[in-house]
């Protein structure tokens, strides 16, 4: 795959930039890391950027008059510029949070808890991650609103006819995942956002699994809110992003209160700082913003188009390889145009936990479980699945190792 004529990404060469992928683990051989949907590995330059921040300019941001504090502030805000540029979004409406989960909770609490009324509806899909379901369920239970679930077709796509009929006058929010972490499905979020807006509803796009893997243009998607997380895009844990409509964000009351987010505080009350800082209470994740900014530059240098083209090839190869394993069922779309390279599957007669354990003994890291998508698992009629998920550093070797380990696994458990 590294030598494809269609794009210029050389996965094998890129691996050299990821310490974890090139230094064998204690007592082990090569690691075939196929769990990037859970978290990506980090290139050396991201680690270096964070290290340099702590070594050279560590200081608290915003209020310091001394030079180092000003420099820390500059590096934090440069991180914001980078992520805003990556998704083509205004920087002042690009809010740093702890992760994607907190970005969605921010909207659920700052907007939903205040604005939802009895009888209102929040429409989510059956393939949402729990982080785009549970916050809505919590605020719905407080406000008397109802959370409805748009079904998923047997092919693993959002049932668009159902979506059309479920969006109505009571719908206040449509919250939908851009790329499913479990099925890999790429959803037509532009169409869904347009349908929701036509009905007067707001929209939340969970772009956690799309921003790391393909070009995402927040302006073109046009949603009121778009959330993603740093650690799945070569960045550190502890930082996420909410890209919101500037007007919505400006009109919303704060989520968390504290330092940094205020303009003035008196014994009578407080007034709010400008956006985005109004939504960033307390000391922000500074080193993390620096690391995420570096991750964005790394991704931009490779090119999001190239990453997507590479992963499309990986998806094709992975589907072919999994088809060679007897008794294996892949969930989600078969067409690589319509999916990312995150693939859930089950193996007749072998429990996903046992698959995960066996594959680990062969140096292949996959995830087993419900992938924080329990409503989807019930919808598919399974308790859990195994999931292999790729990234820009995934090679043919990884996929062959996966296939061979699965064939051996089936024999080991006597399912053959």
């Amino acid at each position: 795959m590294g030598n494809s004529a269609q794009h210029t990404l050389h996965a094998r060469a890129l691996r050299a930039e990821f310490p974890i992928l090139v230094s064998p683990r204690a007592g082990g051989g090569a690691v075939h890391y196929l769990d990037s949907a859970a978290t990506s590995q980090k290139p050396q330059r991201v680690l270096d950027a964070m290290d340099a921040y702590y070594r050279e300019t560590n200081a608290n941001v915003h209020r310091g008059v001394y030079e180092m504090a000003a420099e820390a502030t500059e590096r934090l805000e440069a991180g914001r510029d980078a992520v805003a540029r990556l998704v083509n979004h205004p920087r002042e409406a690009t809010v740093f949070t702890k992760n994607a989960t907190e970005a969605i909770n921010l909207v659920a609490w700052a907007w939903g808890a205040r604005e939802l009324r009895e009888g209102d509806e929040v429409l989510v899909t059956m393939m949402e991650h729990h982080s785009n379901t549970v916050p809505w369920q919590i605020v719905a239970s407080m406000t008397g609103a109802q959370v409805r679930f748009c079904p998923v077709t047997p092919g693993g796509e959002i049932d668009m006819d159902a979506m059309r009929s479920m969006i109505g006058g009571r719908t206040r929010m449509v919250a939908v995942v851009h790329v499913s972490n479990t099925l890999g499905t790429i959803n037509p979020v532009e169409d869904i956002v347009a349908m929701a807006h036509e009905a007067g509803a707001l929209t939340m796009v969970d772009a956690t699994q799309s921003v790391p893997h393909m070009p995402v243009n927040a302006a073109a998607i046009g949603s009121d809110f778009l959330a993603f997380t740093g650690h799945k895009m070569c960045g550190p844990t502890g930082i996420g992003v909410l890209a919101a409509s500037p007007a919505r964000l400006g009109a919303m009351e704060p989520f968390l209160g504290g330092g940094e987010m205020i303009s003035d505080v008196t014994t009578e009350g407080a007034t709010w700082n400008d956006i985005p800082w109004k939504f960033e209470a307390g000391t922000p994740p500074i080193a993390e913003a620096v690391g995420l900014g570096e991750a964005v530059r790394f991704l931009e240098e490779i090119g999001m188009e190239n990453i997507r083209a590479h992963e499309k090839e990986v998806a094709v190869r992975m589907l072919e390889a999994l088809d060679e394993v007897p008794g294996l069922t892949v969930y989600g779309p078969r067409d690589a145009e319509r999916r990312g390279a995150s693939m859930s599957f089950s193996l007749d007669g072998v429990h996903p936990h046992d698959i995960g354990q066996f594959l680990d003994s062969k140096g292949v890291c996959v995830r087993a479980g419900h992938h924080c998508t329990k409503p989807l698992m019930r919808h598919l009629g399974v308790q859990s699945t195994a999931r292999a998920s790729a990234y820009l550093y995934t090679t043919d070797d990884d996929i062959i190792a996966l296939r061979d380990a699965l064939i051996a696994c089936r024999e080991w458990f006597g399912a053959a």
């Binding site: 429990h351 996903p352 936990h353 046992d354 354990q357 066996f358 003994s361 087993a368 479980g369 419900h370 329990k374 698992m377 308790q383 859990s384 080991w412 458990f413 006597g414």
Partner: protein
């Protein structure tokens, strides 16, 4: 694959492929349904108590090889025990799984083969699911008897 052989001893695979004591008991003295939220594994455990002894024990449900084999082994070793003995057995197994006791083969029967699971913290829950269900079952049974229900 030394590590894997430690974990998945032949006896475990044998119990997984040929489950003993599988199913439900009609008119059970006590029944418990446990599940492991991490993986969704489920276990239904039924006991029939006669003269203070476990006259019959059955386990049903779905799960990985470890959880299924552990349930199968439990039904063999717990059958016929009086309730206090059964509780001691469960406690011994629990300690073995947490690496706090050496396994007593006379007590555990085939379940001694699960010893290697202790080294895999995420799998300990799988092994314990049905065993802790038995503890729960006995507690429920005693409460029902005590309250005359």
């Amino acid at each position: 694959m030394g590590g894997l052989d430690d974990l998945y001893q032949q006896l475990i695979l044998d119990h997984y492929r040929n489950r003993r004591g599988r199913g439900r008991i009609e008119g059970a003295s006590a029944s418990v349904h446990e599940h492991n939220p991490v993986c969704g594994d489920e276990c239904y455990l039924d006991i029939l108590v006669e003269d203070g002894r476990i006259a019959e024990i059955r386990a049903d449900g779905d799960g990985c090889s470890i959880s299924q084999a552990a349930a199968s082994m439990l039904t063999e070793v717990a059958a016929g025990k009086d309730l206090d003995e059964a509780l001691m057995l469960v406690e011994h197994f629990r300690l073995v799984m947490h690496g706090e006791a050496q396994p007593d083969e006379d007590l555990l029967g085939d379940a001694v083969a699960l010893e290697g699971v202790a080294k895999y913290p995420v799998r300990v829950k799988c092994a314990l699911l049905s065993w802790l269900a038995l503890r729960e079952c006995i507690a429920d049974y005693r409460e029902t008897v005590a309250t005359g229900g």
